[in-house]
């Protein structure tokens, strides 16, 4: 069983690399800032990353199929606005408003999915369109003004604690476990990897490629909806300007976590680690009083570096594969001379 599963050993290695990078960051920040490695700050980080990580979990599903979902940033603001408005303007209960909010996320995903999967639109264009549309709708609905004064109960979702743990971190944990289970333990999850790896072969094997494809966008919409509720609760208002650029942070987390944009690979654990790296980086740098513009430059560099490492590794592994194939050819595989 030593050389058996090169995919698994690769992903193992992949996550090991991310963990190593994370460890280095933690050590560096622990030495340069007294506050960094304290229980309070670490718990604080889990709260800070929760929104990004929640979006990134849904994004992982989409990216495994080889797609992309750019609309999630706008979902954050639009769902936040509607949830806030439900409570404030229509006196709907917190639970009711939250459910409506998440449903809106799901519907957005469904629309994305139908366009991409059944109408063969490019995912990039479709979700860019819904991104812009939702952003516009948010401004129309609010006239540009935030909706605030949302009540204590609602704020507990993003600001509260369960025992010593921040509530958003608990929500993240639950969503991550469910997502892990879906991807790794179900037929549906297997099919997601299959259509990302080879849609044509999947179709020939009888997989309902289109249905699976729609579902991943719905999942992305739902996790973005959940993230939107957390975000609105954390800042205590529905803001038409919030969330822009969140889609890129989520994609960054997924990619740092080792997923390939071409589809077929990616894990929930990797994505969470990617999200933690981005979170630790911004937390640590702001503790060190690094200018926020400089922080952006550094985050960008980290993303590029992560993908670069990924490229180099995949090239190396394909070289290994070619060598293996050549060895097999030498054993007596015939190439037809047709």
């Amino acid at each position: 069983m030593k050389k058996n599963n090169s995919l698994k050993s690769l992903t193992g290695y992949r996550e090991l690399g991310v963990i190593a990078a994370l460890a280095i960051l933690v050590v560096v920040f622990s030495f340069s800032s007294e506050i960094f490695f304290t229980g309070n700050n670490l718990l604080n980080i889990t709260r800070q990353i929760s929104v990004n990580a929640l979006i990134a979990i849904g994004m992982t599903f989409v990216i495994i199929t080889g797609g992309i979902d750019l609309s999630v940033g706008s979902v954050i603001s639009f769902v936040g606005i509607i949830t806030a408005s439900m409570m404030k303007d229509y006196n709907i209960s917190v639970l009711g408003a939250v459910v409506i909010g998440i449903l809106i996320g799901a519907v957005t995903g469904l629309i994305n999915g139908v366009f991409v999967s059944f109408l063969n639109m490019p995912a990039f264009i479709t979700t860019m369109g819904t991104m812009t549309i939702l952003r516009g709708l948010g401004f129309i609905y609010t006239q540009g003004y935030p909706i605030y004064d949302l009540g204590k109960e609602f704020k507990l979702i993003g600001q509260g604690y369960i025992w010593i743990f921040p509530t958003p971190a608990i929500i993240l944990l639950i969503v991550a476990v469910v997502a892990y289970f879906l991807l790794r333990k179900t037929v549906f999850g297997r099919h997601i990897y299959a259509i990302g790896g080879n849609p044509e072969a999947s179709k020939f094997a009888g997989i309902k490629v289109r249905m699976v494809n729609v579902s991943v966008y719905v999942i992305s919409g739902i996790t973005a909806g959940i993230a939107a509720v957390v975000q609105a609760s954390r800042i205590g208002s529905g803001l038409p300007t919030i969330g822009s650029g969140f889609e890129l942070d989520a994609i960054a987390a997924v990619v740092i976590g080792g997923a390939a944009m071409t589809g077929g690979s990616g894990t929930i654990l990797g994505t969470i680690l990617g999200s933690i790296i981005l979170g630790v980086l911004s937390n640590g740098l702001s503790l060190l009083d690094v200018d926020s513009y400089v922080m952006q430059v550094i985050s960008g560099l980290v993303v590029i570096l992560a993908v670069l490492i990924d490229q180099i590794r995949s090239r190396m592994s394909s070289r290994v594969e070619i060598k293996k194939t050549k060895a097999q050819l030498a054993v007596g595989e015939k190439e037809t001379g047709r």
Partner: protein, 510 residues
């Protein structure tokens, strides 16, 4: 161009090329004169493609030499080949549909102003001349190539070839996508090449065509040069005999006792190649679908699975009409499709043996959508064993397996899905001889156990060895239906090349 006066445009001298396990070309030598059309024929696997690839610089020969216009040519890349004056028109049309006719023709050397600025005027004027030279008087240089017919796109490619003033032109199956009128236009252009002293090597499956257009014909078989003959003094029978040679009698598979009809195609016509296809497959039968490249074998398979929509006629599976059912539904009813391009259409290369073998049929191992991987592993293992797949483990990524084992993984999948009707499209392409035998053995086992097989192949030996009955396709139509006892290689090849007399046997099965 050469300082030597010679009337030989291309001399191929003792060319050898070996692939692991097979000698593709074994000291092949022949000469092509200037202004000559030289036909090159041979069965699949005879070495034609390898020779084309050596001449076009895709492969390099292990030994032997190429002499072009009296000068020894060193061809180790496609660019070398172009510089040596060789131009190849491949079977697949390679034009850029979103660019104009002129840009497509002059792509090798776009006229420039000030070194970088494209000069449209000169470009269009030059393109006009070249268009006229291939007889495309009605096509404007500024048209987009994508708007032209396939035949005209091919002619555009030919004009591009003319623009480089080549000494040798290779045409690989140039009439495959042409109607007979379009083919005539092509032949007229070839005559003009002849007059200009260009040597043309003409490769085609259609013997009549080769005989009528060529001056000399070279026959290859099993990588060896068999003969070069004057086409005026040769009959198609002679050439077919040379192509097949004397072959040792092969072991044939014993037919089983047939059961009921499981698959029937009635007058199936698609938008792709095939017209009015009739065939029926019975339980425990292996039905061959023989034809040369482009005869419509894959298209027939695609029509059965529903990947190409059927415009006319019906497909029935176990006596139910499934003409317009989805592929997933047909698979559930017991159909199995094993495509020719197994890496692109059969397997998810990033996944392991177990995952690939259960692909699409995972529900069998699931409880409420949750996969029971141990159950899956145990069940798949029995099929992996049955198929004698050689793999270090069930968790090995399929991309590292040999072609034969990859093919067996797909066959294991079909067995695991309880398939009853197997559609095999060129099941042994790219597979070594040993693994081939194993696949044939597996086919007979599948049939013994009560399933049926429709096997599409352009390999005569494969058809003769495994099939009980053979449907021969030619130009998208059924040319003949033959029982194995009536099959000879000559007969199959004749029908496939569109030379058989109108056959009545096909009516019997309609």
């Amino acid at each position: 161009m050469s300082q030597f006066q010679t009337d030989i445009a291309l001399e191929i001298n003792g060319i050898c090329k070996t692939f692991p396990g097979v000698i593709a070309l074994d000291h092949v030598s022949f000469k092509v004169k200037k202004g000559e059309v030289h036909g090159l024929v041979g069965e699949n696997g005879a070495g034609k493609s390898t020779l084309i690839k050596i001449l076009s610089g895709v492969y390099s020969a292990e030994s032997g030499e190429l002499v072009i216009n009296g000068k020894k040519a060193h061809i180790s890349s496609p660019i070398d080949s172009l510089h040596s004056g060789i131009q190849v028109m491949h079977q697949e049309i390679s034009v850029m549909p979103n660019m104009t006719v002129a840009e497509n023709i002059l792509i090798y050397d776009l006229p420039r102003k000030f070194g970088f600025y494209m000069d449209d005027k000169i470009m269009n004027a030059r393109a006009r001349e070249l268009l006229d030279s291939v007889g495309l008087y009605h096509i404007s240089p500024t048209q987009k190539v994508g708007s032209l017919s396939l035949a005209n796109q091919q002619m555009i490619h030919l004009a591009r070839i003319v623009s480089t003033n080549p000494s040798v032109i290779l045409l690989d199956e140039p009439t495959a996508s042409l109607t007979s009128n379009e083919a005539k236009e092509l032949f007229a252009v070839i005559q003009r090449f002849k007059q200009n002293g260009v040597a043309v090597i003409y490769i085609s499956h259609y013997l009549d065509e080769v005989i009528s257009i060529s001056d000399q014909i070279t026959v290859l078989r099993d990588g060896r040069h068999i003969t070069t003959v004057n086409s005026k003094s040769v009959s198609s029978d002679d050439i077919v005999t040379a192509m097949i040679g004397h072959q040792i009698k092969k072991e044939f598979r014993k037919p089983e006792v047939y059961g009921n009809e499981v698959l029937r195609l009635t007058n199936v016509t698609t938008a792709t190649l095939i017209r009015n296809i009739n065939l029926c497959l019975r339980q425990r039968e292996v039905l061959g679908l023989y034809g040369l490249g482009g005869a419509g074998k894959t298209e027939t398979m695609r029509a059965i699975t529903g990947l190409d929509s059927v415009l006319q006629g019906t497909v029935s599976l176990f006596n139910t009409d499934v003409t317009h059912s989805s592929i997933a539904k047909k698979l559930r009813q017991g159909l199995a499709f094993i495509p020719e391009d197994r890496r692109r259409q059969g397997l998810v290369l990033q996944m392991n043996v177990q995952e690939n073998a259960s692909l699409g049929g995972e529900r069998k191992y699931a409880f409420g959508g949750i996969l029971r991987k141990k159950f899956e592993a145990n069940d798949i293992k029995t099929y992996v064993k049955k198929m004698r797949i050689k793999s270090p483990s069930m968790q090995t990524q399929v991309s590292v397996l040999s072609g034969g084992n990859q093919q067996k993984v797909i066959m294991a999948r079909c067995l695991a899905h309880q398939a009853k009707v197997f559609l095999l499209d060129e099941p042994t392409v790219g597979i070594d001889v040993g693994a081939r035998g194993e696949i044939y053995q597996l086919i007979s086992e599948i049939v013994q156990e009560g399933s049926s097989v429709l096997l599409a192949s352009s390999d005569i030996n494969e058809i003769m060895q495994t099939c009980d009955r053979v449907v021969v396709l030619s130009h998208g139509r059924v040319a003949a239906v033959l029982d194995r006892k009536d099959c000879t290689e000559e007969k199959l090849l004749m029908y496939a090349m569109g030379m058989g007399e109108e056959n009545n046997e096909k009516e019997q099965f309609a």
